[in-house]
């Protein structure tokens, strides 16, 4: 199984990078981008076929290492072995050169 872990600063914690990115987007004319929060993304390849086990394992390592619970929260998604690299759906039409 593959687990995807998304780590972001808690909503109560100011994110200076996200704010700066939002300001940059506003200066480019994207007024409708109300706010940006920057975070981290992890892919874990797990030697298990059980969704529940995979979720539990990913949450455990997120708690212990990937996120700092003082300032960050995380979200876990578990997917079967992807055929295309994760993130490919983010590539612009025609793919990246």
């Amino acid at each position: 199984m593959r687990a995807r872990v998304f780590v972001t600063l808690k909503p109560s914690v100011f994110d200076p990078q996200g704010r700066t990115i939002a300001d940059a987007l506003h200066s480019l004319g994207y007024a409708s981008v109300a706010d940006v929060r920057q975070g981290k993304y992890f892919e874990l390849d797990l030697a298990t076929t059980e969704v529940a086990t995979a979720k539990q394992l990913a949450a455990e390592v997120a708690d212990k290492v990937l996120a700092n619970p003082v300032i960050e929260s995380y979200r876990v998604e578990v997917v079967a072995e992807p055929t295309a690299p994760v993130g490919a759906e983010l590539a612009p039409p025609g793919g990246r050169s």
Binding site: S12, P16, V65, N68, V70
Partner: protein, 249 residues
């Protein structure tokens, strides 16, 4: 008295710390590699500045798992003095030896300059030779020194008098314009509940010689020397009274 300066891969203020302890203050001082497991008899442990383990994941996040940290934790739990400077402070936060966490500087810039600090507490091993309210001019150099603690934790550390140093203006007044990184409540340094573990973002080891632009950092080192002198004096007391009692009989 012996200083142990822990060296992580990526530490870069270890030499400055060793030089201050050994050459400026004439103390025994030794490097301790992060993969070592014992502190080589160090009385004071210094976690120096730098970029331990490349600051991968988060500043200090990987260093927390270095083998030496078990020894540092045990030393701290015995009441031994531990000081974390800059990256060392970040490591203490990630290890849970001090409360809170670091965020990117408010202005996103790496700040490398002299700042003014007010000494808030003088009952720690690293500030006991300072005057309450003294203003120190000491350099900083960091990109992630924006100290954060959730409201309940902040309330607790303020109530327990764990805020040891605050960023101020040159006259010692807390002023957001003189806060270089956006730290909550202007916090530049804190101590543990037991007060023997201290973390600070500014670099006292870079401010111990006039040639380097100032000597205000000396008081941090002088404090720990003073702290051991008074501890020795206290330790001698019971011995003396025991001797007296023995001779009385």
């Amino acid at each position: 008295m012996k200083f142990g300066v822990v060296v992580f891969p990526g530490s870069n203020c270890d030499e400055d710390a060793l030089r201050a302890a050994r050459d400026v203050f004439g103390q025994d001082a030794e490097y301790i590699w992060h993969k070592d497991t014992d502190l080589k008899g160090a009385d004071v442990v210094v976690l120096p500045g730098g970029f331990a383990h490349g600051d991968y994941l988060r500043t200090g996040a990987m260093a927390r798992f270095s083998p030496i940290m078990a020894g540092v934790r045990a030393h701290a739990e015995r009441g031994g003095p531990v000081i974390g400077i800059c990256n060392g402070f970040q490591i203490l936060l990630e290890s849970g030896l001090l409360p809170g966490a670091m965020l990117r500087n408010r202005g996103l810039k790496y700040r490398c300059e002299h700042v003014y600090l007010r000494v808030e507490q003088i009952d720690t091993p690293f500030t006991c030779a300072a005057k309450q309210g003294a203003v120190l001019r000491i350099p900083i150099g960091h990109g992630e020194g924006n100290y954060y603690a959730p409201p309940d934790v902040l309330e607790r550390i303020v109530k327990n008098r764990q805020v040891v140093l605050r960023y101020t203006d040159p006259k010692g007044r807390v002023d957001e314009d003189w806060n270089p990184n956006g730290s909550v409540s202007g916090i530049a340094g804190i101590c543990s509940e037991a007060r023997n573990v201290v973390g600070l973002m500014p670099h006292p080891e870079r401010a111990c010689e006039a040639l380097l632009g100032g000597e205000d950092g000396r008081v941090i080192f002088e404090s720990v020397l003073e702290w051991f002198r008074s501890a020795e004096a206290v330790a001698l007391q019971p011995v003396r009274s025991a001797t007296l009692q023995a001779s009385d009989r």
